[in-house]
């Protein structure tokens, strides 16, 4: 499934924006480390999802692979954030 | 594949069973290798374990070394099936043969080091530790030979153009991936503990058990392939007879 150039471009804008935002949150604000981790990792999951859907064409993946990647995103984010709070 | 060859190849596929059973009991259970003692264990402690359990360790490693004989049998059958599966030239099939045999050799010889340690465990603990280290460094760092046969099988399977391939593509890709994962063993010598040491998650559990499972699944397909190749051969006889008589 081919995305239009506009979609591809906006995906890139989103990825760059979220990257910069994460950087700012992590390095230039004083929020507590647990919250900070949650924010940057959630941002990572969102970026990964953008790549998955807009660039990799996740919608046309076989069903099991869509399920797998969906689960993968959740598990990875939850694991990293979860251990940070323990 | 003629009926006789097919039957022998199928027997070779079955060899995976005695291999895993004998090796599992000998190396895993009696040899106390699942999981192995960490490289960080002091020599004194290791030597004491070897002194206390010398009898079971001896029979364990002797049995394990013998069990690898079945890998050779298995590999020969695999090689014959690969020859018939491989499209074009046969170099990859020979790679599978060499890789499989050397993997068996790798496993066999590593057992001799541990067996030697168990043979005379009352000697200097440092020597026991040296033999133990030697066994693991040998076993793990020879991974390249396993890569040869696993990637060989993978590529042959991927290049099979039969409408219904003899080996599923997913099996090929998983085999290739598992073989690549072995490369992590390259950093194993840096660690005496942790997830990248010889007893760790990434250099023991991941490179041993998934590939073992893959080997068993491969054996099932190898068995089925041998059957199908015989059927292909039998159904092709009329055509070849006709060809010979119309020349």
């Amino acid at each position: 499934m081919l995305q239009t150039p506009k979609v591809l471009r906006w995906a890139w804008v989103g990825l760059v924006a979220i990257t910069v935002l994460s950087l700012v949150v992590a390095e230039f604000t004083g929020i507590p480390s647990g919250v900070e981790t949650a924010v940057v990792i959630a941002a990572a999951a969102i970026k990964a999802r953008i790549i998955l859907v807009r660039y990799m064409g996740e919608r046309s993946f076989p069903a099991w692979l869509r399920l797998y990647f969906g689960g993968w995103l959740v598990v990875c984010a939850a694991t990293i954030i979860g251990f940070n709070f323990s | 594949m003629t009926k006789n060859e097919s039957q022998l190849a199928r027997l070779c596929a079955w060899a995976v069973a005695p291999y895993f059973i004998l090796f599992g009991i000998g190396w895993g259970l009696l040899g106390r290798m699942i999981p192995p003692y960490p490289a960080s264990m002091p020599a004194e402690e290791l030597a004491q374990i070897y002194r206390d359990n010398a009898s079971t360790l001896r029979i364990g490693f002797a049995l394990a070394a013998f069990a690898t004989t079945f890998i050779f049998i298995w590999t020969i059958g695999l090689f014959r099936v690969m020859l018939a599966t491989e499209r074009g030239g046969k170099i990859l099939s020979y790679t599978v043969l060499i890789g499989g045999v050397l993997t068996g050799v790798d496993l066999m010889f590593s057992c001799f080091f541990w067996l030697t340690a168990a043979f005379r465990p009352e000697q200097d603990p440092a020597l026991i530790q040296l033999l133990y280290d030697l066994g693991w460094l040998w076993l793990d760092l020879a991974f390249g030979v396993a890569m040869l046969y696993m990637i060989g099988v993978g590529v042959i399977a991927l290049r099979d153009t039969r409408e219904k391939p003899l080996f599923p593509k997913w099996l090929a890709w998983i085999g290739i991936w598992l073989a690549m994962e072995f490369l992590l063993e390259l950093i194993m010598p840096y660690f005496r503990s942790g997830p990248f040491s010889w007893s760790g998650l990434f250099n023991f559990w991941v490179p041993f058990f998934p590939p073992a499972t893959w080997m068993v699944i491969l054996s099932v397909y190898m068995y089925k392939a041998a059957k199908r190749l015989n059927e292909e051969y039998e159904s092709d006889i009329p055509r070849r007879v006709e060809q010979m008589t119309t020349d």
Partner: protein, 204 residues
């Protein structure tokens, strides 16, 4: 005049498919490779997080020595490379071969930029006395980014192969498959970095 003797294992061509005509359906085994790879990294993330939770001081201290700026630059480089690659696929499917080739070359070039920056970071770390064995944090840093870097370098090679094979455009189903697999692999490399970067550099 007799025909050439048949090889013993040749069968009728009726049940063989022309290799050039193979088009892997959506559930081809390559997806298993991708899933296996992603699983390995998930395991690495798990192991890292677990060790960090029990040694947070050591890990946070180690993190101080990383150059976040360089990591950020690399993130932007990789994200841009994914954009270029996705655009390349679009171009090739619409038979704009020259544009497609340029975009693939751009992707590969950015990949090399990433590698250069990463190696520079390694050199900086090593010069400051941090190695695989100096602290658990640096063990994970070098190993995780190292495995990722190897994936990336393989990806660059794959891109070159894809570019070479498709230099006259998409002609056969097997071309389409090669492009799809190569692209998905490259995006996976990017996707993994999306987690690796914040986990190692930012999260504490």
């Amino acid at each position: 005049m007799g025909r050439a003797p048949q090889l013993a294992n040749r069968t009728t061509s009726a049940n063989h498919v022309d290799p050039q005509e193979i088009s892997l359906p959506g559930d081809s085994g390559f997806w298993m490779f991708i899933a296996a790879d992603a699983s390995l990294f998930a395991l690495l993330f798990f192991q890292f997080s677990r060790d960090r939770s029990s040694q947070s001081v050591v890990f946070d201290e180690g993190q101080q020595h990383l150059t976040v700026l360089l990591g950020t630059v690399n993130t932007l480089v990789l994200v841009t490379s994914s954009w270029l690659m996705a655009s390349a696929v679009r171009s090739l499917h619409r038979n704009a071969v020259r544009t497609g080739m340029r975009l693939i070359a751009g992707t590969a070039a950015l990949g090399l930029v990433f590698a250069a920056v990463k190696i520079a970071e390694y050199v900086l770390a090593l010069r400051s006395g941090h190695t695989l064995s100096t602290s658990p944090f640096f063990m994970y840093y070098f190993v995780i980014t190292g495995i990722h870097l190897v994936h990336l370098m393989i990806g660059v090679v794959v891109l070159v192969v894809v570019g070479w094979r498709l230099r006259v455009g998409i002609r056969r189903p097997s071309d389409r498959t090669l492009l799809e697999c190569g692209t998905v692999y490259w995006h996976l490399v990017d996707l993994l970095w999306m987690f690796i970067f914040p986990m190692l550099y930012l999260a504490r």
